[in-house]
Symmetry: C3
Subunit: 207 residues, 3 copies
């Protein structure tokens, strides 16, 4: 229940950030709806395709798709305010990341997969929406350069799995993961924590 | 039956436009066949994957794939004529869009999905081939900038669904949708109808 | 058994070349693992999704994913040596291509598909990993320009199918295909054999 409410907040916020990316590429309303939806529900879609988990969430519940399309189009009129509320959106995005990670973990667990696949499922749910957004808008994917993002999805998923393993009940595990994951992501943004990066000169090509 | 003939004309025409895009990227014959096939049958493939509708059309009927590969390779020899026949190809592309939209609607209806999902299915079938072509050839997707295209797929699907809902028989609904959809698309090209677009300055980034 | 050992060698080598591409894009460790895994097991993943062949290989055997992630991260420390061993990697990549092609052919055969679909399955398994790597790293896909690559996958698959059709046993057909396919690919690299390419002036656009 809590997770459903947070999920709707999460996809709405993600759809709005997706719409801004579409706007920077001067897309029309259809493009805005496409990028908004891909950003918000693309991660879950890729996860379900990889796991063979049909029907997809938004095919079963088309209202989720309606929400992301409407949020996308509304953003075209509210862009100035959305940008002013940048701090709020960073918080909502952090919250969405943890919610998506927990949902991704639960879906793979429900299918009886290995813990490592549950964590990959969390990762895909949390991260691939942004990857799709950047592919469609032809930007070098942000999640591959930025402050800890994918790592937060993995840690959150591992924490949630670990708490369940220790016998903690689902509600407590969910709320604990939400709090710890959110604080970890906000700390990563605040203190610019990054994974080590790998830089190779172009001459170092195998091709 | 009519739909099958029009479908084959549609995928042939789409494959030839895909091959021209590959030619502008100086691809080899394999690249030409890949882009031709992705353009012509990529939309239906993405639709079937999203809906979990297996086996895919071209896996069940490999001759469709053979047609797109052959059309692609023939285009490398006929490029000058294809380009001279630009007007014909715009008409065939418009026809293909409506055929793909009706087929997409039918597939989702046959699986018992909500009307909104049937329209999304039409949209994906009609539009994602071109999106894939532009992603592989690294062009900013045309359907996100151009005259009404995705909208025509949605309107055609909605019209077809509405006519069936009103008790019109399938043949009449199909032919009516083909005519109205085709005229709508040609009018959009002729009069340069576009959706409003959303332009955002780069400084307006959340990132 | 032989095929399993060669498969693990193949995905390790592919993961390392993927990691080098990620390094040229200055990605972080997560990006390195993503590109390494997409390069090594992305082809098989796309094949299984197209054929509806679930669960995916790495979902069933998460250790394959672990291998590609570890190989990717190790490459960040070993990049100089990997580049010095360029000749070895070209050989391992050629071997991997044939192994992937045989495995792709077997999967489609096991599902009872037409010979043409078995060859497409080989092609997708062998080629799409590199395509995904180049899409994520935003390079024009190498397999669409380079020496015979996709063609080697097709020929290997056709040879394997033909030998089985002639009543040759599976082990002999596999080993023969490995040898012929490997020599064909190495000859293509050595003598720069290419498919004819299709070049079109930009003015020749339909759009």
């Amino acid at each position: 229940m809590l997770l459903s409410v947070l999920y709707i907040i999460g996809i709405t916020a993600e759809a709005m950030t997706g719409a801004l990316s579409a706007g920077r590429r001067k897309m029309d309303w259809f493009g805005v709806m496409l990028v908004a939806s891909a950003t918000a529900i693309g991660g879950g879609t890729v996860r379900d395709i990889l796991l063979g988990h049909y029907p997809l969430g938004w095919v079963k519940n088309p209202e989720f798709l309606a929400i992301t399309c409407i949020a996308g189009v509304l953003t075209t009129g509210l862009a100035k305010w959305v940008i002013k509320l940048k701090g709020l959106f960073i918080r909502l995005d952090a919250l969405g990341l943890i919610v998506f990670s927990i949902i991704g973990t639960k879906v793979a667990m429900g299918m009886g997969h290995h813990a490592m696949i549950c964590m990959v499922s969390a990762l895909v749910t949390g991260v691939f929406g942004g990857l799709l957004r950047d592919l469609i808008c032809r930007q070098t994917p942000l999640v591959l350069h930025e402050e800890l993002y994918a790592s937060v999805a993995l840690v959150s998923s591992g924490l949630y799995l670990g708490l369940l393993e220790l016998g903690v009940n689902d509600v407590t595990a969910t709320i604990s993961t939400l709090i710890v994951g959110y604080l970890l992501r906000m700390a990563a943004v605040r203190f610019k924590w990054r994974l080590p990066s790998f830089q190779l000169e172009t001459e170092g090509s195998l091709h």
